[in-house]
Amino acid sequence: MATNIFRSFLRPRIKTSFFKRYESSEKRVAIHDPFSNKPEKNKESYLQVIKFFEGRDQRRRGHVEFIYAALGRMKEFGVNNDLEAYKALVDVLPKGKLVPTNIFQAEFLHYPKHQQCAVDLLEQMENNGVMPDIEMEQMLLNTFGRRGIPLRKYWRMMYWMPKFKNLSPWYLPDKMPDDTLELAKLAIQRITSVDPDTNINLWQTEEIEVALDKTWIVSGQSRIQKLLLAEQPIEEPLVIKGPYYVYLRDQSVTYFTLLGKIRPEPKDDIDWDDVSKIEKPSGIPGFIGKTTLPSIKCTVHEQDDGTILAICATGTSSRDSLLSWIRLLEKHDNPLLANIPVIFTLLAPPSDVSLQETQPALQEEDNIERAG
């Protein structure tokens, strides 16, 4: 007994009590998460939670923490691209209370946590590509006054975001389609925008009787490509290469190319203007004369690693669907494909990429199959 008392004296008191406080507090805190117990997660329920928070308490205690929590849940509710949701969150902040009233308050960050919170909210908008509007400015002005840091952030955003919004030369709709077929159409359109003459066809593999995969094929081929295909030498096989990826915002589409041989260049061995032997004067960056890179070909389809004869995306990206594609191409004005061999060179996907459900296994490397 006496030793126990003695020991309890010896033990450092402060430390144990410090831990005790944490221990007990851990047990007693019950986390109330209004977002988690919503049955369906959509914009309506998200706004409902915000309204509920606003009405619960006149002082709106813990509203900064609430806004941070709500910002983290936006993706889950699918409102991270929605201006209205962001506005509803800004509306949680009290109006008038946080406006600095003298120069010292204005200079030394009046209510710093609130200001940082609003800046973080605006930054999340920026990252998601949501442009604020005039009403948002008015709300922020009412909350923080015109010397608030969030206002500076807002003005910067309104200066830069419109400048970059429509900068991309390849237009994409604001709301990307969910359907893979529509995405594939967009992707093939984007790739073949290099040649405005391109025809984009939507075919079903049902047209070919022997096809195993019943799926769709989006194929792009221009009139020049048809001509180039008709001129291919019969003894040289064509190659199907893929799958390659093209990104449309966050969606990626796999596509395949049909490659042929490059037309032989007209031969002229004597080059009187050959300047490649002249030594380059120092000080001029770059090269003089011919590099090992090939010169520009007559058509855009003749790239240096082959002539691109057609491009497609299929619903399953399987080898059978590609076989159907070749047969469909043959059916639609490319009679040469009946006689010419076609090699399938399908690459294995990189090891660190997990395949999506719509793309069944294509793990065979360099599978060679003859068609036609």
Partner: protein, 297 residues
């Protein structure tokens, strides 16, 4: 010199308090020192430590090459006339990626190099014989309570230098357009032109512009005037924008960080410069006069 170009951090964190230090289980927020920059890399130490004796050995080994460089410089000084004009319509190539040794002039970085993310990237030769900047972009955030955002991969040219490891700069004053021939995957990439200066304030000055790629098997040539580039420091666009100093350029780089998880692949054939006489724009962004408390200085 007060550093006003900083993150959007409004509050400095509290200094180290003894209570927090004694308990290891409490995560201490690292202190951010914002008055002056300590080193050029901003705390990312990438230097390989070598023993002093090895340093001496390596120095002697490099001496031969450096002397050769110096001899070339002296020869150039007497023989070369300065370039006075660029031929309009002709592209002078800075880097032409037709052989693997051009790749040695570039360095790739991704966030996984500093344990700040999970992206990885590589720069090597493509099957078509060009440079291929490819990898996997991952925006997952490591759970260390410190990192807020992650997901970038970048390639950057090494610093241009003269003999004996003296830093120098590119002089692109006679050109006004950047020409780059690429074959991408539909993502948008960021072109970075660094203009590191002498003072710590300018160490992180990078001029940015977006490189949109079409995607697909066709090559595309992008011509971007230097007047369109915007000034950023540590990734933040600056309020006071200026046109880039074309004789103070230290690095050129391409970065991928468009926040979409997945593989990326950018083939580059060449990066060059051109003079376009029809383009007489000095700077593409109008600058409004604002109140003093908005734009510092």
């Amino acid at each position: 010199m007060f550093d006003y170009r900083q993150f959007s951090v409004l509050r400095k964190t509290n200094g180290s308090r003894p209570l927090l230090q004694t308990h290891k289980h409490i995560i201490k927020i690292p202190e951010r020192f914002e008055f002056w920059e300590r080193d050029r890399k901003g705390g990312y130490n990438t230097k390989i430590k070598t023993a002093p004796l090895d340093n001496i050995k390596n120095g002697f080994r490099e001496l031969k090459y450096e002397l050769k460089l110096f001899a070339n410089e002296v020869k150039d000084y007497f023989t070369t006339d300065p370039l006075l004009l660029a031929r309009p319509g002709e592209t002078d190539l800075l880097w032409c990626f037709n052989s693997p040794d051009v790749l040695d002039k570039f360095v790739t970085t991704s966030d996984s190099d500093h344990n700040e993310g999970f992206s990885n990237c590589k720069l090597d030769m493509s099957p078509a014989g060009r440079a291929q900047f490819h990898g996997y972009l991952d925006t997952r955030i490591p759970k260390d309570g410190r990192i807020k955002k992650s997901g970038y991969c970048s390639m950057r040219s090494k610093r241009i230098r003269k003999s004996f490891k003296r830093d120098s700069t590119y002089d692109w004053n006679i050109y006004n357009t950047l020409v780059i021939k690429v074959r991408g995957d539909g993502r948008s990439y960021l072109l970075n032109i660094s203009c590191e200066g002498y003072y710590d304030l300018t160490w992180n000055d990078i001029y940015h512009y977006v490189l949109y790629t079409r995607g697909g098997p066709y090559w595309q040539i992008a011509k971007i005037p230097f007047s369109k580039f915007v000034l950023g420091a540590k990734g933040r666009l600056q309020d006071k924008q200026t046109r880039m100093r074309l004789d103070r350029i230290t690095h050129f780089g391409i970065a991928c960080g468009d926040r979409y998880d997945g593989v990326f692949n950018l083939e580059v054939e060449y990066i060059g410069l051109e003079y376009d006489p029809t383009h007489d724009e000095e700077f593409a962004y109008e600058m409004y006069k604002t109140e003093k408390f908005i734009v510092g200085v």
